[in-house]
């Protein structure tokens, strides 16, 4: 039998446009697999020449799902250009906004994009394996998902004026303080949201047994893990030090977040517009690492909120060292939802939650600024250089999906080797190849910083490069 290649195009239920190609050897076994990100935008280039203070609003346009994450990392980079220490009240409000963004994005990823696989089954009819199919099969769960995402978006709107592309986070702080009315509205919604998060966690833990094969084969291998931690090693999404942890659960290093250039490097591959990051001291590919909810729950020494702490302790018992299977990204995402709700509640109960001092003013005092925060999908880095007039001369964005690129590629190969055999494809096989990508919840619009089209493709090719089969959804 000649070598062959399978193409999945487009990959569905992800944020952005991509395809997967699987190369088969002469015996029909998967020999190599590639995750191709086929969109390109180039935000880093076209922002050159713009005033730095436009950057948060401009960068928020990278994504319609996580604009708040870009706002925050960008504003932090601009704070560094101003060389200001922003008011504590502004830090608290930025934290609440970031957690609300994580809440709505995680709810979207879990309930809209992944529950169709988890509830209806990996081999179920693809025509109904979507959020509308979930509505038919389990209306209560669909309503929970809609409610949770709606609540996260509503918090963003109450704080920042609108749900998508708000301009409230500005260099030096935030545009306006929190009102008592909006604080009380948010707090009033927390109990119901906590109940939904708890139901979803209990349901997922009960269902895990059904997915033993997926747990075993969904990007389940040793890598490093990276993310922000607080000074005490606790879970952190806004600022802190960057920690690397190895697969055995040992801390490799803690670094200042702004010194990323010393320990991270990027390479480009000819098959994708998405660059691949790696940990410099170990080189590529030994320095492959993962970011996002799974990484964050692996690297921390504690969580800092009561209910999420209990869930985290149970989660950490899954493995002796770090929890390695990327299937558990779903689990970690649900624990982070619980954490986000508890933490928002804590922040809003702070005696100075309504502090009116929320912005520091200055002009350009540094010609370079770096902002790092944790986005839903992982660590987000914005790095700008400006001239004396504050015009951008250079920008570099390192996005969560780029950090995860090498692990996603390896994950696709592992799943394909486990489930794809011969040149006869089944839909369930291909869905698992896509589903491993969904565990990472990649945002391809962010990561290529694209022209709006959506979705993924799987190609099957012979060793001579002949295209034997293609699956895609438009």
């Amino acid at each position: 039998m000649p070598r062959q290649k399978i193409v999945i195009d487009p990959v569905t239920r992800i944020e952005g446009h991509a395809k997967i190609s699987l190369h088969l050897d002469e015996e029909g076994h998967v020999e190599e697999a590639y995750f191709h990100v086929t969109q390109f935008r180039g935000f880093e280039k076209f922002c050159e020449g713009r005033p730095f203070y436009e950057m948060p609003s401009l960068m928020a346009r990278i994504c319609g799902i996580c604009p708040v994450s870009h706002l925050i990392a960008s504003a932090k980079a601009c704070d560094a250009i101003l060389a200001v220490r922003i008011p504590e009240g502004a830090v608290r409000l930025r934290r609440v906004l970031n957690l609300a963004q994580i809440l709505q994005s995680h709810a979207l990823s879990f309930f809209y994009l992944s529950v169709p696989d988890l509830l209806l089954g990996m081999d179920s009819d693809p025509a109904t394996r979507n959020v509308f199919g979930v509505m038919e099969a389990n209306p209560a769960m669909a309503k929970d998902g809609i409610r949770l995402r709606q609540f996260g978006q509503q918090i963003v709107e109450w704080l920042a004026g609108k749900r998508i592309h708000p301009a409230w986070v500005v260099p030096g702080g935030v545009g306006s303080p929190l009102t008592a009315e909006n604080r009380d509205r948010i707090l009033a919604g927390i109990p119901e949201a906590l109940a939904i998060a708890t139901r979803a966690l209990d349901w997922f833990k009960n269902e895990m047994e059904r997915f033993r094969e997926e747990i075993r084969s969904f990007a389940n291998f040793p890598t490093l893990f990276m993310g922000l931690v607080g000074d005490d090693g606790s879970l952190e999404h806004y600022s802190g030090k960057l920690r690397f942890l190895d697969a055995g659960g040992h801390i490799v290093a803690d670094y200042a977040d702004t010194a990323y250039d010393n320990y991270l490097a990027e390479i480009a591959h000819p098959w994708s517009y998405l660059k691949t990051s790696f940990y410099k001291p170990l080189g590529y590919p030994d320095g492959v690492y993962r970011v996002g909810p799974l990484a964050r729950l692996n690297i921390v020494d504690g969580i800092g909120t009561p209910r999420a702490s209990q869930e985290w302790a149970e989660f950490r018992d899954l493995d002796r060292g770090a929890v390695l299977s990327s299937f558990y990204y779903h689990y970690a995402r649900l624990i982070e939802i619980l954490y986000a709700l508890e933490k928002i509640e804590q922040l809003l109960h702070h005696p100075d939650a309504l502090d009116s001092h929320v912005r520091a003013h200055a002009s350009v005092n540094n010609t370079e600024g770096i902002g790092v925060s944790e986005a839903p999908r992982g660590t987000l880095m914005h790095h700008y250089k400006v001239d004396r007039d504050g015009l951008i001369t250079w920008a570099n964005l390192i996005i969560a999906t780029g950090h995860n690129n090498a692990a996603m590629n390896r994950g696709v190969l592992q799943v394909a080797r486990h489930f794809v055999h011969g040149n006869k494809l089944t839909e369930g096989m291909l869905n698992r190849v896509e589903a491993v990508i969904r565990t990472f919840d990649p945002c391809l619009s962010c990561s290529t910083h694209a022209d709006g089209r959506l979705s993924l493709e799987v190609e099957l090719r012979s060793h001579k490069g002949e295209l034997l089969d293609v699956c895609h959804t438009r």
Binding site: R61, A127, N130, F132, P139, I146, Q150, Q154, L454
Partner: protein
């Protein structure tokens, strides 16, 4: 989350991408209408796209008006289309249709309202924030007409 529990006589949802020329016609129509109408029983939403979470407010309305741009048809015209609920078969969540949201509102929340879609055909869908002049006129005329209709037509909340 008690803020969302009020019932509505009318929900208006204008949607589209304001960075793609005439595609933003529905979004902009909703923005203009919101500047003119301030009634607690009417909610006006401007959206980049239709998403499943809209099913919940749809279920609380006695009627819903969708406003969208279209790549087909003569620019400068507005077409009025009555809608009926229809189940979705989309494999992704980014392409929810008004009919699917109506069906979802019924199946999840037990109520779906009377619904109308106003379609504004566009000419230019390239990158840019400006509407084609004829499309701009059509948006203004539609907003005028809806303002009058909403002022004289009170529908009891469900």
């Amino acid at each position: 989350m008690p803020h969302t529990l009020n019932t509505l006589s009318t929900l208006v949802i204008g949607y589209g991408n304001t960075l793609r020329g005439d595609d933003g016609a529905g979004f902009l129509a909703a923005e203009l209408l919101r500047d003119r109408i301030h009634r607690p029983d009417i909610e006006i939403l401007s959206q980049h796209q239709l998403l499943p979470e809209l099913m919940e407010p749809i279920s609380r309305a006695s009627r819903v008006i969708f406003i969208d741009a279209s790549v087909s048809g003569r620019a400068g015209k507005v077409h009025r289309i009555p809608l009926r609920p229809a189940p979705a078969c989309a494999r992704v969540t980014h392409h929810a249709t008004p009919e699917a949201l109506l069906a979802g509102a019924q199946s999840l929340y037990g109520h779906t309202p009377e619904a109308t879609l106003y379609v504004i055909p566009g000419r230019n869908f390239q990158v840019g924030q400006e509407l084609t002049p004829s499309v701009r006129r059509a948006v203004n005329e539609l907003v005028d007409a809806l303002e009058k209709e909403l002022a004289r037509h009170f529908v009891a909340a469900p």
